[in-house]
């Protein structure tokens, strides 16, 4: 790059940015796999490691080894499930919603997408997803959101995360912005958040394959935009299972040059 002027470098950087943007917002979304059918991804009984039913308002902590997966099921179509997580060996590495959106040029998670950490590595791949209606932006319920919506402080995601973090020796400092599954939130032209209730269905599920060794916390509380009241919430089912090994052409690993790099950096931890 010797001899290039500052203006030439800026022009080259802008060109690269526009190429990546075009690919990231046109070619990549067109090539994503179709949503999983509601009955389209049975888990072989021998692949199941454990199963847990989490009542409405409650939380669970799940450890996943690289290559294992967590299936989250909303059997009644009334729940949203908020997720945070840390690298098992260094909890300062954690889920990063901002990088997840920036790297994929999209705040919309669906089958074929991934969830990234703040260290440029892939934490989770969405290997199955019947819904494609999740929230990466607004986050879960809190004491303040419950009070505002219900007139009283119900069980809420913020306090669930705090309790789960504390049991791991972590605390308020360690709770990052969360992803909420089965939370159909979009942003309108004015920037307002919109709840798309028609996109929730009984039996919706998502399968998250761990790409590193992880500790996850899942909170089963209604999303703050959900007009329902907490009494309308239902249980969720969590199934930890051994996912099939990722093939070289695994759809989650090959969506874009950015994602290929993120997996290269992730795989180096285990090389």
């Amino acid at each position: 790059m010797v001899g290039r002027t500052k203006a030439e470098i800026s022009a080259a950087n802008r060109r690269r940015y526009e190429e990546l943007r075009l690919a990231g917002q046109d070619a990549t979304p067109k090539a994503l796999p179709a949503a999983t059918a509601l009955d389209g991804a049975p888990i072989a009984p021998q692949a199941v490691i454990s199963r847990e039913e989490v009542p409405p308002g409650w939380y669970d902590t799940v450890r996943l080894r690289r290559g294992e997966a967590l299936r989250i099921i909303d059997p009644l179509g009334v729940s949203s499930v908020s997720l945070i997580g840390w690298c098992e060996y260094d909890p300062s590495e954690r889920i990063n919603c901002a990088d997840t959106a920036k790297v994929q040029w999209s705040a919309a998670l669906s089958k074929g997408r991934v969830i990234l950490s703040d260290m440029g590595r892939v934490f989770l791949s969405l290997i199955e997803d019947t819904s494609g209606a999740h929230d990466l932006l607004m986050g879960g319920s809190t004491p303040a959101s419950a009070l505002a919506a219900y007139g009283e402080v119900s069980r809420n995601t913020h306090e669930n995360f705090l309790a789960a973090a504390s049991k791991l020796g972590l605390g308020l400092r360690d709770i990052p912005p969360c992803v909420s599954f089965f939370a159909p939130v979009s942003v309108d032209a004015a920037g307002r958040f919109v709840w798309n209730a028609a996109r929730k269905r009984p039996g919706d599920l998502v399968d998250l394959r761990a790409e590193t060794d992880l500790v996850l916390v899942l909170s089963n509380c209604l999303h703050p935009l959900d007009p329902a009241r907490p009494a309308a919430g239902g249980p969720i089912t969590l199934v930890r299972h051994r996912a099939p090994p990722a093939a070289a052409d695994d759809p989650c690993r090959t969506t874009s040059p950015e994602i290929v790099r993120a997996f290269q950096f992730t795989d180096r931890l285990y090389a």
């Binding site: 440029g120 986050g139 303040a144 920037g191």
Partner: protein
């Protein structure tokens, strides 16, 4: 919002030019107003707020967006903590729109986004780590931040794009704090996307005491 008179630069109790690509921080006392001036235009300013009394309480992008019901930071936005308290308010804004969804750049995310050759370029997270170390805080304490003068439209399909800044030279944003706050800035060094017009430039920070009744 506010009936407070427009502050005069001559009345500021503090004024400092933050060089391009550098961090800055200051303890702001309750009622003080911080102005950030985008001197040349199209300069993203990443910012974090910590409660001075207990820095475990800090700015929360998700709480801020939820309370506001919308995704962009603008005049009147209340900046909410992870304990649900109002830390500060946007009391003046000549730019019109700021981001709080896109986070800060890091060496690690740059390498993913733009190729491994960009890993050894200075980044906002390096600035934040250095500046936070003055207060006994670390990477663990870096949360999703504000990006003043950064334009990140999110469309209904979810498309999420850092586009050219809409901030013109001399635009400013005023932040009035509702509690004693450690206010931390990274004057963004990113050269791989349009948030700084591919050319990082200095910004000015000014602080005013609350108007006396």
């Amino acid at each position: 919002m506010s009936n407070q008179s427009i502050p005069e630069p001559a009345d500021a109790v503090y004024s400092h030019e933050v060089p391009a690509e550098r961090p800055w921080s200051r303890l702001l006392k309750r009622g003080q107003t911080l102005r950030i001036v985008d001197i040349e235009g199209q300069q993203a300013v990443d910012a974090l707020l910590y409660c001075a009394e207990d820095p475990a309480e800090r700015y929360s992008a998700q709480d801020t967006m939820r309370v506001q019901g919308s995704a962009y930071v603008e005049l009147g936005t209340r900046l909410v903590s992870n304990k649900g308290r109002i830390m500060a308010r946007i009391t003046a804004d000549t730019c019109g729109r700021h981001d709080t969804s896109a986070g800060c750049c890091s060496c690690e995310s740059n390498a993913v986004r733009f190729g491994e050759s960009t890993k050894y370029q200075h980044a906002c997270r390096e600035n934040f780590i250095l500046e936070l170390s003055r207060y006994g805080l670390a990477k663990r304490d870096i949360v999703a931040n504000l990006n003043f003068f950064m334009n990140v439209p999110i469309d209904p399909s979810g498309n999420f794009t850092v586009v050219d800044g809409i901030s013109a030279g001399g635009n400013h944003v005023d932040v009035t704090v509702d509690m004693d706050v450690i206010f931390v800035i990274s004057n963004c060094p990113q050269v791989n996307n349009p948030c700084n017009g591919f050319n990082p430039t200095p910004v000015r920070v000014l602080v005013w005491d609350p108007p006396t009744a």
